[in-house]
């Protein structure tokens, strides 16, 4: 008896054993099958003729997927840079506004002696 013949005989014994399952098990398998069929993924129109998943593939062919990923990454970088610049400008704007509406003239901040005087005053 060669290997394949032996294996097929063993398989025949296994089949015989599978045919003799308890009624309870058979019934539960039938119920499981019916539950599975009830939630079967429906064939979506023409997609069935193209082997399924046609929607995703038409919108995003495999060859374009790396390009789409690159575009997405670039978009994230550009948006991030824009946001960071906008936040910096807003901060500077607030400082400028504070300086402009302050009673103290701007030239005072550029005066080294004024700075020294402020430090001296704060110490005393």
């Amino acid at each position: 008896m060669n290997e394949q013949e032996f294996a097929r005989k063993v398989a025949a014994h296994l089949s015989a054993s599978a045919r003799e399952l308890d009624d309870g098990v058979v019934e539960r398998l039938r119920a499981a099958r019916e539950r599975a069929l009830a939630v079967q993924r429906p064939a979506r129109g023409l997609s069935r003729f193209f082997g399924g998943r046609v929607g995703l593939r038409v919108r995003l062919p495999a060859a374009l997927r790396p390009l789409a990923v690159s575009v997405a990454i670039l978009a994230v970088v550009v948006v991030g840079d824009y946001w960071a610049t906008w936040a910096r400008v807003m901060t500077l704007q607030e400082v400028d506004t504070a300086l402009l509406i302050d009673d103290l003239p701007i030239d005072a901040y550029l005066d080294a002696e004024f700075k020294a005087w402020v430090q001296q005053e704060s110490r005393s």
């Binding site: 063993v10 539960r28 398998l29 499981a32 099958r33 539950r35 079967q40």
Partner: protein, 197 residues
């Protein structure tokens, strides 16, 4: 328009019929496969039900020819997941695992069996046949997991080597090796017990 809708509905119905026929044909063998790996009927039933649901939900619209390979792949993954969960549970319930191994040892002591096909119709013959089947199943269950998967897919599910390789996620050469080793191991084990299938 109505005709197109009718054709589409028919094609969907055909697919449902195909899926139903496939599941009906494979469910008992799938259950047995799960029992060989998981050792309990309850866990095996859960695994088969999970595999059926996953096939139906995710691949129910695929061509019927792909069902065997897809189902086997899903079933093996579900079985591995269940084994992982069992392993974690058994870590915390050592008492239960020791009970199971004692049970297996008792069964081993009965394994001096022969097949007598002439006497199969007598009560004694039926008893012997049942014991023989049980012994063969026990030896199949004892095979290393990958060998058992390859053996059952190739010879029980009658999948070809490329389908089996796709379902197992390995090369065709590995499938041949697993099958050959499984067959040799089974032959040696059954011969040692005086069983000729």
């Amino acid at each position: 328009m109505r005709r197109t809708a009718g054709i589409l509905k028919d094609s969907q119905l055909a697919s449902r019929v195909e899926l139903s026929a496939f599941l009906e044909g494979v469910e008992k063998r799938a259950f047995k496969q799960a029992v060989y790996a998981l050792r309990t009927d309850e866990a095996a039933l859960d695994a088969v039900q999970d595999a059926m649901l996953k096939l139906s939900v995710s691949y129910g619209d695929r061509p019927a020819a792909e069902f065997p390979m897809l189902f086997q792949r899903i079933l093996q993954n579900v079985i591995y997941d269940a084994l992982r969960r069992q392993k974690v549970r058994n870590t915390w319930t050592t008492l239960l695992s020791s009970f199971v191994s004692e049970d297996e040892d008792e069964a081993d002591a009965l394994d001096i069996l022969t097949v007598d096909s002439d006497a199969a119709d007598t009560p004694h013959g039926q008893f012997e046949r049942a014991r023989t089947l049980a012994a063969i199943e026990r030896e199949v269950a004892r095979l290393p997991a990958r060998q058992r998967e390859a053996f059952l897919m190739r010879y029980w599910e009658e999948m070809d080597i490329s389908e089996t390789a796709a379902a197992m996620g390995c090369s065709e050469g590995s499938v041949k090796t697993h099958c050959s080793r499984a067959t040799q191991t089974l032959a040696a084990a059954l011969k040692a017990k005086g069983i000729v299938p």
